[in-house]
Amino acid sequence: MSPPRSDTDSAVDPLRPPDHADTDRADIVAPSLGLVGWMRWAWRQLTSMRTALVLLLFLAIAAVPGSLFPQRSADPNGVIQWERNNPDVFPLADAVGLFDVYSSPWFSAIYLLLFASLIGCVIPRAKHHYTALRAQPPRTPARLARLPAYQETTLPVVGGNTDAMGLAVDLAERQMRRAGYRVHRYEGAGWASVSAERGYVRETGNLVFHVALVGVLTSVAVGTGFAYTGQRVVVEGTTFVNALSDYSSFNPGRFVDGTVLAPYSLTLDDFQVSYRLPGAPGAGQAGDFSADVTVRTPGDDDRAESVLVNYPITVDGDRVYLLGNGYAPTLSIRNSDGELVYSESQPFLPQDSAMTSLGIIKIPDGLPEQVGLVGFFYPTQGVLPSGAFTSIYPDVANPVLTLNVFSGDLGIDDGIPRSVYTLDVGGLTQLTGADSGLDSLELTPGGTADLPNGWGTITWEDDTEQVGEPVKRFASLQIQRDPSGVWVLVFSILALLGLFAGLFVPRRRLWVKARLMPDGVHVEYAGLARGEDPALSRAVSDFASRHSTAYTDLPNAAPRP
């Protein structure tokens, strides 16, 4: 049997940091012994409650700038915009990490110190708790009346009962055991007592909570190394093959090289969306997005699935999300000989809620010069007071396309990768629109317009036969794999359970001490709580009344008529 703990030997609770509010002794003492002493002192500083608290507050404050400044990780365009607006301050702000707050050295330093403190705090507590779990409840204090919850009573001794005291204590022991207490008997000259303790799970919960936080952090740190996210725009009727070359952007974790992606393909059969009709509240609001795809995986039959907002599909462990959508008009360009030099459904990116969309077309070969087109698509064209076009409703009711033609060096051949969605018009000559002298080209579905300089024609192919409306739509999909997610979830749930136990399970000690007196058995009940325990007094008085009632009901003790 392990020895009982004594309550009187140590004033400081070794389970807790020395500056815990409920420990008696004052602060961490100043170091006296050379290097080792200093190091021990530093460690105790780091693992003190005060340090943990200050680091927590620092963490809260340090997180704030990330919501005031655009972050590269969440809003890269916002960063570019900020730089444009504040070119002078930008380099300084960037140097101190205001645009990468959560990976900045100062933010990392705070949370790493915090977690070092946490581990340093938890390990000794865990060790101690392990011992406490196997120890007996402590010796019964000499003067129970001094405890925070206390009650006494005198029970009758009846008949020829010689051991009323033992009987009362036996009964208390049984009742406490049944109530989930761990019990131990202590006896002395003229008195017998039972000492009981419950709620070890409070400390267990607290430890589990803190350890689970370490688990969350570790899962994120390790797991994201194995994660990847990629984006791809898929036009109706086309197929995306899950290979690195087919992504429009791909962000691999540190341990992912992208060469061994799961082999599958997705064909966008149909993209559906509905809009609130004009006149209704929320007119023009889009909803019920659905990207209906056919999934092909080797060795399996084709599957039809729908990717919805909030409901990603899972293919081979990858999760496929619907992020955005828009229109992709099919344009054909012929040169002056009538040869087809370009024919594609180019996604136009939506610029506003009525789906005014911007698209770029680049024709490096086949025309006398390289040609770039900047196009605007209006699903329902309207005219602003200034005379400019705009879309007034997001669905296709009166679709119009306008294009400005640029010629010159598109900069495609210098090997620097450039986005298909942007055109640097800096070095180009504008042939239509603005002050070029020619109007912008304007097309309606099925229509054809002449390119300037007699270079050829451009036709907007009407896609009604294939997709039921003049223009195809595209879906932008995100494909993602993140093995850290499930671990983070597991540790979060553990943390939540630990938190519940740590905050709400009462940890109590209860003592019942009986002494034989001339007028009966004098019984004392006392309780002590660790941590917050609003119900302690009630627990003691409830137990007292349960015990004395049961005692008087005992066959041996009950007064005989």
């Binding site: 420990t23 943990a52 927590l56 704030v64 919850a149 990603p312 939540l496 119900a535």
Partner: protein, 348 residues
């Protein structure tokens, strides 16, 4: 009330909400009069006469050589229980009773307004700023009324009702929007769970904050009294004298804050699960995520502060107050002015 047909369900809902605001304003006035009256009472007999009966279970001797287990808080339960008065034993304060009755009445209007808004919208009534405010304040009042059954916290009525009138009135004036169908990202079971639990946590934090403010005032009075205790025969009056000690108030505030913290932790986790379904990542330091995290860390700090020597008392109370101010900031300023993925305020 922009262009809402007063006879539509939504119009009726708005009318009910305004009635609730008016009733709450009256309740606020009643609670304020109650405070003023209590403040001018010469003594605290009405509280004292009930105390002995309530604390009989505990003998409050100072705790002794049991330091590794006991804590100073444990020696207090009997004191805190001074507030744990069953309604029938409470002092019969006329204006406090009027305030409570008006609060109940206002709550009924408010609940009816919220439910009819939900029916009009054919979904849960917490999907834009106006509705968050509607449901959030409803929960504050609901939790307050429930808690009143256990604890005599009527002294908080003026604080809470004043806040509810401001929030609800402000929302009805500035945030009201007609019913529109949900945006796709909000069509999720997590809207129901995550937002509701967050509002519940907010309600608990609000009450904790109110008690912490009282605690600070009480602590100031206690220090002042101690300093002037020589003039003991000067008759003392004051509202605070009738309230529990700052220690007891602190323990009480802590109890609300930890329940709120539990819910907030859940909100954080549920939000991450939802974000993972909706945006393809469970955490991305989006502005709203940042502020939810900041609040969580602040309250973790508060819990630690209460357990840290030198921080228990005034400083931890300040953390509870700052925590709740941050919750309000997150709900108002961040929702309206900060750019991020959570743009569901319904305002444009």
């Amino acid at each position: 009330m922009p262009g809402t047909d007063p006879l539509s369900l939504d119009g009726i809902s708005l009318l009910l909400v305004w009635t609730a605001i008016a009733t709450y304003s009256l309740a606020f006035i009643a609670f304020t009069i109650d405070l003023a009256q209590r403040a001018s009472r010469a003594d605290t007999a009405h509280l004292q006469e009930h105390l002995p009966a309530l604390v009989a279970v505990g003998t409050n001797a100072p705790h002794s050589g049991v330091a590794d287990f006991a804590n100073t808080a444990a020696a207090k339960p009997a004191v805190i229980d001074a507030l744990r008065v069953p309604p029938r034993l409470r002092p019969r304060l006329l204006w406090a009773r009027i305030g409570t009755a008006l609060t109940v009445l206002g709550f009924l209007f408010h609940a009816a307004g919220t439910v009819s808004r939900g029916i009009a919208a054919e979904r849960v009534p917490w999907a834009n700023m106006y509705e968050f405010a509607l449901t959030g304040t409803l929960l504050i009042v609901a939790v307050f009324l429930l808690v009143l059954r256990l604890y005599d916290l009527r002294f908080l009525g003026a604080f809470l009702l004043g806040m509810v009138v401001l929030l609800l009135g402000g929302a009805a004036v500035a945030f009201y929007v007609e019913v529109v169908p949900l945006m796709d990202p909000l069509k999720s079971i997590w809207l129901v769970i995550h937002v509701f639990v967050a509002s519940l946590a907010t309600a608990l934090f609000a009450i904790a904050c109110g008690i912490s403010v009282t605690q600070l005032l009480q602590a100031r009075r206690e220090t002042r009294d101690l300093a002037t205790s020589d003039d003991a025969d000067i008759p003392r009056s004051g509202l605070l004298r009738a309230l529990p000690s700052s220690d007891a108030l602190e323990s009480l505030s802590y109890r609300f804050a930890i329940v709120g913290f539990m819910f907030w932790t859940f909100t954080l986790i549920a939000g991450a699960i939802w974000a993972n379904d909706s945006w393809g990542r469970y955490w991305g330091f989006d502005t709203k995520e940042v502020w939810t995290f900041v609040i969580w860390v602040l309250y973790a700090g508060y819990i630690h502060a209460r357990a840290t020597r030198g921080w228990r008392g005034k400083r931890s109370a300040w953390l509870s107050i700052i925590g709740f101010m941050t919750v309000l900031f997150n709900f108002t300023i961040v929702n309206i002015f900060f750019k991020g993925l959570h743009s569901y305020s319904g305002l444009s």
